[in-house]
């Protein structure tokens, strides 16, 4: 399963690593990354991801990302990219 995660977050020290580490560790390969800085100083990451096995759910990983202190908003779209 492939998908795209869009994450808006505060650009605090380590935030990008935290986000990428979580996605990888929770069972997704990161296949594409685009990062931008918004005018308000927040970061936005768009990740193309691919599940490592069929048991992984994008919604679950989105919920886990949402739990990170730096993360403001997460959206996920299943089945896009690549």
């Amino acid at each position: 399963m492939t998908g795209q995660l869009t994450i808006d977050f505060d650009l605090h020290e380590g935030a990008v690593l935290r986000v990428l580490g979580l996605v990888e560790r929770r069972g997704f390969e990161v296949r594409g990354i685009r990062m931008t800085e918004a005018a308000d100083g927040r970061g936005a990451l768009a990740l193309d991801v691919r599940a490592r096995d069929a048991s992984r759910s994008l919604d679950t990983v989105a919920g886990q990302l949402q739990r990170l202190h730096d993360v403001r908003n997460v959206t996920c779209i299943q089945g896009v990219a690549q």
Binding site: E13, G14, L22, D59, T60, G63, Q66, R67
Partner: protein, 563 residues
């Protein structure tokens, strides 16, 4: 999240960073910290003298983190541990992971090389911020002395609120040495969102219709301090209940409708009830593999209602027909429906509980650990706190001791950290100096933090250690016997030191027993002694933990002790 009133630090003369750390800890109500000094953290140790903080000098940083973990479990407030940079910081890692896996509030403070040296492979530089990223709820590197009060206030709020967890603060040496006028502090206080009334209504409808409901609760009860609401809900609905390892005590373990722990070493009545139930109400638990066995055969006929403080847990491993996240007590109080036709089921569960009750008959004159633990726990009473290590003895504690509150059972559940027991005993005694605290350890586990006997001695902490010695890595041996065709590999510990002599060398009273006639007097001596004491109990090396669900099997495929 709700915004909250800022508390301001008066802007007077510049204050050293280390002093600001001490003041921040005092503002959070911290009275005791656990730690070990070294180069990069020396400015903080300099400021500790003359402060109102009590520092417990452990003999290995891992023990500082594990003691802080136990302190957090007992008080609900973050336990604080301190270590220097490099090896001091890496020694904390296991304790931080332990707190993360069991959602325990903790603030870990690590020294770091000076800012200008970070990234240069300086002496005792490690990227502890990077190393701990996956095992902290959040972490900070102090980049400005003036920000110290803000970072600490935020760290404590994060550690204790919502789903608690460890927060790491890395303090470069120059940040502690330098002085600054602190910036004002403003912290957002966490508040659970209100539960959706439609979901409450849907859950009530499912409860009303249920014929065979089971309440499955876990560590989330203690985190949310939701014991009262849980017990009211169980009483109102008359529902049989089962607990995870961390849930034990949420409902008193001797309650007639409490069926016991579920899962791998759970009670058969608990696993059977889950297998046959038509409604499973999971509260503050997370469908962990040790609890569920093979997940796709867990509660196969049940509709699931999942209630948790952490929305990310709902639906993670098992789809919930109704998932409600928020304040657990409020949610349970709003579930006022009662199952209309479940008396037969409750009675059946009670009969099964009686039928499969543990037996304490054991042949021979040697000591049967389950019987000893049961007698000890009854003699110690419900106010006693048990801490344990990891292995067979840990499972025997869960199976045979009685608990009427989760804070009385400090066990390393998620990480399964051998070496937790003694440091946890230290943390529990610091948190509650008048408590009777008993550590149940194994001959493998005790050696993982044996140096902390010196800490017990130094602070005269009256920990009662029961060391169950089977001269083996018992749990590993049991698995090799059952699942690796008795190919015993690296489990022999028959060359252990004499543990009573060892404890005495640390200045701790100790004695050995190996015959069951000696048990009553040993229990009496343990409970009557005012200082630290170790009772070394020799048991049969072949003793196993029963019942047992083999790995990757359904919970109903339980193996029993051969009669």
């Amino acid at each position: 999240m709700a915004a909250h009133a800022p508390s301001t630090v008066p802007d007077t003369a510049p204050v050293s960073g280390a002093r600001l750390v001490v003041e921040a800890l005092e503002r959070e109500g911290v009275r005791t910290v656990f730690g070990y000094p070294g180069g990069a953290i020396m400015p903080l140790y300099d400021a500790l003298t003359g402060s109102g903080l009590r520092h417990i000098l452990v003999r290995h940083e891992q023990a500082a983190a594990l003691a802080a973990d136990a302190y957090g479990r007992v008080t609900g407030e973050p336990g604080v541990c301190i270590a220097t940079s490099g090896p001091g910081a890496t020694n904390l890692v296991t304790g931080i992971a332990n707190a993360y896996m069991d959602s325990v509030p903790m603030v870990a403070i690590t020294g770091q090389v000076a800012t200008s040296l970070i990234g240069t492979d300086a002496f005792q530089e490690v990227d502890i911020f990077g190393i701990t990223l996956p095992i902290v709820k959040h972490s900070f590197v102090i980049r400005s002395t003036a920000e110290i009060p803000q970072v600490f206030a935020q760290a404590f709020e994060l550690a204790r609120s919502g789903r608690p967890g460890p927060v790491l603060i890395d303090l470069p040496k120059d940040m502690g040495v330098g002085a600054a006028v602190p910036n004002p502090v403003s912290v957002e206080r966490f508040a659970h969102p209100e539960a959706d009334p439609q979901l409450i209504a849907a859950a009530n409808a499912l409860i009303a219709e249920a014929r065979a409901p089971v309440l499955y609760f876990g560590g989330g009860i203690a985190i949310a301090r939701a014991e009262r609401a849980l017990r009211d809900f169980a009483a109102r609905t008359g529902m049989p209940s089962v607990a995870t390892l961390k849930g034990l005590g949420g409902i008193p373990t001797d309650h007639p409708d409490f069926l016991g722990m579920l899962g791998m070493h759970g009670m058969r009545a608990a696993n059977m009830a889950i297998d046959k139930c038509d409604l499973l109400i999971c509260v503050g638990a997370r469908f962990d593999d040790r609890a569920t066995g093979k997940l796709d055969t867990f509660a196969p006929g049940a509709t699931v209602i999942h209630i948790d403080g952490d929305p990310a847990e709902i639906g993670k491993l098992r789809r919930a027909a109704v998932g409600i996240s928020g304040d657990i007590s409020k949610i349970l109080d709003a579930l006022d429906a009662r199952p209309a036709h479940s008396e037969h089921w409750a009675a059946l569960c009670r009969r099964q509980k009686a039928m499969w009750a543990m037996s304490y008959d054991a042949p021979g004159s040697g000591i049967y650990a389950p019987a000893l633990l049961k007698d000890l726990s009854e003699a110690a009473g419900d106010d006693a706190v048990f801490t344990c290590d990891v292995g067979q003895h840990q499972m025997w504690v869960a199976q045979h001791c009685r608990f009427s509150r989760p804070q009385a059972h400090l066990t390393s559940a998620g990480l399964g950290t051998m070496g937790y027991g003694v440091p946890a005993g230290i943390g529990a005694l610091i948190a509650d100096p008048d408590a009777t605290v008993i550590t149940i350890s194994g001959d493998g586990s005790i050696m993982m933090n044996v140096q902390e006997l010196a800490t017990l001695r130094r602070y005269r902490l009256p920990l009662k250690i029961v060391l169950i010695d089977n001269s083996q890595l018992g749990m590993v041996r049991q698995w090799q016997e059952l699942f690796f065709e008795e190919n015993f590999s690296e489990i022999d510990l028959s060359d252990n030191p004499d543990f009573a002599d060892l404890a005495q060398a640390f200045g701790i009273e100790a004695f050995t027993i190996d015959h069951r006639d000696e048990v009553p007097a040993a229990i009496e001596r343990l409970l009557a002694t005012n200082g630290p004491i170790l009772c070394h109990v020799r048991i049969d090396p072949r003793a196993n933990v029963w019942p047992l669900v083999p790995p990757n099997s359904s919970n109903v495929q339980m193996l029993e002790k051969a009669k």
